[in-house]
Structure formats: structure tokens, C-alpha cells
Amino acid sequence: MLTIENLHASVDGKDILRGLSLTIQPGEVHAIMGPNGSGKSTLGHILAGRPGYDVTEGAVTFEGQNLLEMETEDRAREGIFLAFQYPVEIPGVSNMEFLKASVDAVREHRGLPALDAVSFMKSAREACKAANLPAEFLKRGVNEGFSGGEKKRNELIQMMLLEPKLCVMDETDSGLDIDALQVVAGGVNALRDPGRAFVLVTHYQRLLNYIEPDHVHVLANGQIVRSGDKSLALELEERGYGWLEAEVA
């Protein structure tokens, strides 16, 4: 589904990724862990097409297409979803208008008929319920005045409605209390599907107690320095990242 080969990228002239390679198959859950500044969030932003991130070398292929040449909105329409670490507040644009615009754009791209207002509202309310966010939040400005946990749950709602093929979750667990974490994890688990893959970018092993990964990768200095199964996450939890960084150096 997704192949990343020898990816080098920089932000403001500073090299962040230095030869990252990763292959993801449909149905898999990959966890990417690593110390601060290792390039975890950069990877998510590059996949989503954020301006200001320069790819200097390497290739990213998504379902046979050169992802790096696609516009941001086309990546989303093709099925890539980035759950933001810090979702953006957009006062004046209601959450419902935003969600409908997104769903319409994605469905149109996939050749599906547009949802009428009633069916859309029904799915939106169901998604709210699954994310444990009151439906009143649909009428508020996008993320406007939402708490950290409410913003993350709003990301989950978008993910449920857009039905992406590849979900990249950028530190979705950071700053969540245990109840909110369980809600988000429950939402992700419910979306697990043989045709859908997840990349969980996280700082904490805790998330992986609730979402069991198939593969765990450690990112350090812009490269994947170790890959393994879920036991690697437990080892990291015990020993920290220092020993790996030392091995690589």
C-alpha cells in the first residue's frame, strides 16, 4: 500500500529525515516510536503534504502512485488521513459544514453518490456517539474552544466519516487521560480492517496496550534504527531510547 524508500527531508534547511525506508501492507498496524526530535511528526506531515517540508531525496509510493507529486487534497481523496497532533481551530466554520465538505469531496473522488443531508447527519451523529463527543459539537466552529481531548476525538470522527485507507495518527495519545485514550483506541480498533492500514506515531508505549501493533519501529536521527514486534515497545518502555541511539552511533 505504502512504500517509503530512502526518504530525506528538511525543514527550513535543517535535515530531519535522513534515509527513512518503510513498507506498509493493507491491514497492518505500524507503531513508530522515538525520542523527541527524531522526525516522527515530520514523517506524518510529509505524507499529508504540508507546505514547507522539502523532500531532498528518496521516493514515496502510495498504491502505485508517486505520492510526493500529489496535491494535499488529492492525497486525502485517495485515502490518506493524518490525525493531527495539534488540530487547527477554525472559528466561524461549523464542524458540520467542514465534515460535509470533506465527505462530499472524498466521495465524489471515489465515484460515490453524495450523501443527502439526512443520511449525512445520521452518520455524523453516529460518529459523535462512537467518539463520545456530544452531537452539539457539530454546530460549533471547527475545534473552536475544544479541549485537547475533544480535539483528538474530533479527529477520530473525521477519520470514521472519511473511511481512509491509510490512517497516520500523529501522537493522538499525547495529553489524553485514560478514558479519552480508551475511546480513541476503541475507535481505531473498530476501524481495523483487512483493507486499511494504520501508522501510530507515538511517544508512549501506553497506547500500544490498547491498540496492538503488528510492527514497531524506532526512529532516531531521521532513520529507522530498529524494527520488531510489540515486544520491542515493551523493551523501549523499560530501557528508554538511549541504548539504541548509542548502538547506532
Binding site: G49, E73, F84, I90, A105, K139, G141
Partner: protein, 440 residues
């Protein structure tokens, strides 16, 4: 002296009621001696009067309009008075059936008692030097007086539509509204300015005076939709007595030239003013809002928010002055003006002015000029929304924050599609903007 409108004024055959003759005569002498402001005149630095023409004529006979276009016909659910080219159009109006405590009368129809009230009040809310107010008095013909008795709560809004319709001749219009809301009373007024499709160039000199008496409430909407070659130079002067509350909302879509002077005078302690506005010039249009808040007495508060989106090679001017007099202790006044430029050729001149002569006050002001938020734009695109639609949504959202706060549903419902269409050159780009209603 200025030649502007001198000849049409001399030819004006319409008689004012005899009890206004003195005011009119004084103003004519004043106007003859006055000069039109130039770019060197204080408060006119960024606005040129060059678009004023020398061939405007007063349409004394009015223009016959059989019915209003569908967009205007619905109104705002209130008692409605319609003036066409400055003349009252009875056939289009649906004035109030007798409502306890509410008087709506034209100057021409005023009873002796009302005439005394009008003559006593007219001009008393206007402070400072406003040369176009002098012109308004000089051209005084008909006008509208809205009076609410002490303690009366008027549920439905009073709406006044000032329509420009003449198609053959460049037209001058004098608009005059005088309103008094008695102690403990409550009223909503919607002033709406628009032009019919195909209307000739026009000049409207608007002047509205609002007196809000002790502990009374007035909500006032003033919506300017005149387009094309329509020039509007107008003023709204509001005088707030003790514990009075005023909520003013202003909207201006662009035309060749609009200039509005909004003055709120806190004349009694404990008064509160909300003054909000939106201006949206594009093309070559020009909109200038000059606001002045006079805090003359203690314990008054003001919240003022104006937002503008300026497109193409349009220009906007916002000058927000807050003047806190020496006696006005315990004043709280906040002013925010934010502007969005959607083109490299668009211009805004924004200037908050605080003049504070009291020492125990809280004041804040801020003015910003920016482009669309890149982070928000990116966020929308990562959800599959095209850049074009995202830009429309964000522009609309920038203004919609103020629209969402409006108390009157009918105004909100009227404005949202107009604003959505304003931001989207292609209708499809606005299709997601009108899904949410507060009433849902």
C-alpha cells in the same frame, strides 16, 4: 464653497413642514459656506470624493416600483417602511398596525405634538463637525420618526428599506431617520439600503439619529447593499442615557464609494454599547468606516469589533476612535479591527485611536491585517477539500463569527447566502456554507 448639489438644492420644490423651515434655512446657509472635504481634511485622508458626480438630481416625484424583487420582498418579519429614491412608497410598505407604545411617522405627517418632539430632538445627537450632516439638513424633505414610549417592549423589528430605483437620471437621495426609545423601553430597527438592478448612479446622504433613554435597549442593524455607481455618505449618531444599552451592527458590501461615520455618545453613567461591523469591498470598490465612541461620563462600557475582507484592488478604511473624557472614570472600552486581504492589490488603512483623559479606565485596542491562515487552509485540504473551496470557507468563517452572534434570525438568514455568494465566484464552492442554522 462647494458647488456640489447647490443647483438641485435651489430647484428643490418640495416644502419641508413649516416647523422645520428654520433648521433647513440655517443648513442651506451653512452648506453654501462649506467646502467639500479633500484628502487634506482631517478624517478624509484616505477617502477621495472624486466619484461624486455633478449631475445628480433629486427625484421629487419618486420612482414607481410596482413590487420589490424577490430577494428584498421577504423582509425581516417586522413593520416595514419603504422609501424609493428618497420618497415614501406606500404601496411597498406594511406599516405597523396600531401597536401600543410605538409611533412610526413621517415628518410630513407629524401631528403638532410629534412636530414639537421632532423639532426639539432633530440634530441634538450630532456632535462635532459633520459637513454632510449639514447637507442633509439643507436637503431636508421627508424623514422618519420612530418613537417608543417609556416602558414599551416592541417585539417585532421596525424595518426601513431605502431603495434606489431611478434608471434614467443620476439621483440624489436624502435619508433621515430619527429614533427615540423611551426609558425602560426596547426596540429593534433594521435599516436596509439597496438598489434595483439597472439603477442609475446615485448619491445617498444618510443620517440617522438614535436616542436611547434611561435603561432602554435599542438593537440597530444597518445593512448597505448598494452596488456599482452608488455613493453613500452617511452618519449614525447615537446618544445613550443612563444605563441604556445599544447593539449596533453594520454591514457594507462595496460600491464605488461608501463612507459611514458612526458616533456613539455615552451621555449617562452605566450605558453599554456593542458596535460591530463587516465590510467587504472588491473590484475597485471603496468603503470607509469612521467610528467614534465618546465616553463622557463614568461607568460606561463599549465593545467594538469590525472585520473586513478586501479583495481585488479594492480599498477599505477603518478609523476607530475612543475618546475618554476626564470625568469618565471606570470606563471599559475594547476595540478590535481585523482585516483580511485576499489579493496583493487590495489595500486597507486601519487606525485605532485612543484618547484617554481619565486615569481609572480599562482600554484595549488592536488592529490586524493578514491573509488567510495557512495552517487552517492546509488542515481543510488534508480532509480532501479543494484549495478554492477551503479559501471560500475560511473567508466566510472570518465574517460569520460576527453574523452568528446576531440576535435577529431573519437578518442572519438573509445575510448568510449573500455572504456565501460574495466569497464564491463559483456557486458550488459555497454549497457547504449554509448547512448550519442556529435554530437547529
Amino acid at each position: 464653497m462647494s458647488d456640489f448639489l447647490q443647483a438641485p438644492l435651489a430647484d428643490l420644490s418640495q416644502r419641508v413642514p413649516h416647523w422645520l423651515e428654520a433648521i433647513q434655512a440655517r443648513a442651506r446657509a451653512g452648506w453654501e459656506a462649506a467646502s467639500l472635504p479633500t484628502r487634506k481634511t482631517e478624517n478624509w485622508k484616505y477617502t477621495s470624493l472624486a466619484p461624486l458626480r455633478d449631475d445628480y438630481q433629486f427625484a421629487e416625484a419618486g420612482t414607481a416600483v410596482a413590487e420589490l424583487p424577490a430577494t428584498l420582498a421577504a423582509g425581516f418579519g417586522g413593520h416595514r417602511l419603504v422609501f424609493v429614491d428618497g420618497q415614501f412608497a406606500e404601496n411597498l410598505s406594511s406599516p405597523a398596525a396600531a401597536i401600543d407604545g410605538l409611533t412610526v411617522c413621517r415628518f410630513a405627517d407629524a401631528s403638532d405634538e410629534q412636530a414639537t418632539d421632532i423639532a426639539g430632538l432633530l440634530g441634538t445627537a450630532i456632535g462635532g463637525d459633520h459637513v454632510f450632516a449639514t447637507l442633509n439638513n439643507a436637503a431636508l424633505g421627508d424623514g422618519l420618526f420612530i418613537d417608543v414610549k417609556a416602558g414599551a417592549i416592541i417585539d417585532r423589528p421596525v424595518e426601513v428599506l431605502w431603495l434606489n430605483a431611478a434608471s434614467a437620471q443620476a439621483t440624489a437621495m436624502n435619508q433621515r431617520l430619527l429614533c427615540r426609545v423611551g426609558a425602560n423601553a426596547s426596540l429593534t430597527i433594521v435599516e436596509h439600503f439597496a438598489g434595483l438592478e439597472g439603477a442609475a448612479p446615485s448619491f445617498c446622504n444618510g443620517l440617522t439619529e438614535l436616542h436611547v433613554q434611561d435603561n432602554a435597549f435599542l438593537a440597530h442593524y444597518r445593512l448597505h447593499e448598494e452596488a456599482g455607481e452608488a455613493v453613500h455618505i452617511g452618519g449614525v449618531h447615537t446618544r445613550l442615557a443612563r444605563d441604556a444599552r445599544y447593539a449596533g451592527f453594520h454591514l457594507a458590501l462595496g460600491s464605488v464609494l461608501k463612507r459611514l461615520d458612526l458616533v456613539v455618545h455615552h451621555a449617562g453613567p452605566g450605558a453599554h454599547a456593542d458596535l460591530n461591523g463587516v465590510y467587504l469591498p472588491r473590484g475597485e470598490e471603496h468603503i470607509d468606516y469612521h467610528t467614534t465612541i465618546e465616553h463622557a461620563v463614568p461607568h460606561c462600557t463599549t465593545d467594538e469589533i469590525f472585520r473586513g475582507i478586501i479583495g481585488d484592488s479594492a480599498t477599505a478604511v477603518f478609523n476607530g476612535r475612543i475618546h475618554i473624557h476626564p470625568d469618565a472614570q471606570k470606563t471599559r472600552a475594547e476595540l478590535s479591527n481585523r482585516n483580511l486581504l485576499t489579493s496583493n492589490e487590495a489595500t486597507v488603512n486601519t487606525k485605532p485611536e485612543l484618547e484617554i483623559y481619565a486615569d481609572d479606565v480599562q482600554c484595549a485596542h488592536g488592529a490586524t491585517v493578514a491573509q488567510l491562515d495557512a495552517a487552517a487552509l492546509h488542515y481543510l485540504r488534508t480532509r480532501g477539500v479543494s484549495r478554492e473551496e477551503a479559501e471560500v470557507m475560511l473567508s466566510f468563517g472570518f465574517i460569520n463569527e460576527l453574523i452568528d452572534g446576531l440576535e435577529l434570525d431573519s437578518v442572519r438568514d438573509y445575510l448568510r447566502p449573500i455572504l456565501a455568494a460574495r466569497f464564491a465566484r463559483d456557486e458550488a464552492l459555497a454549497r457547504h456554507l449554509l448547512l448550519t442554522r442556529r435554530s437547529q
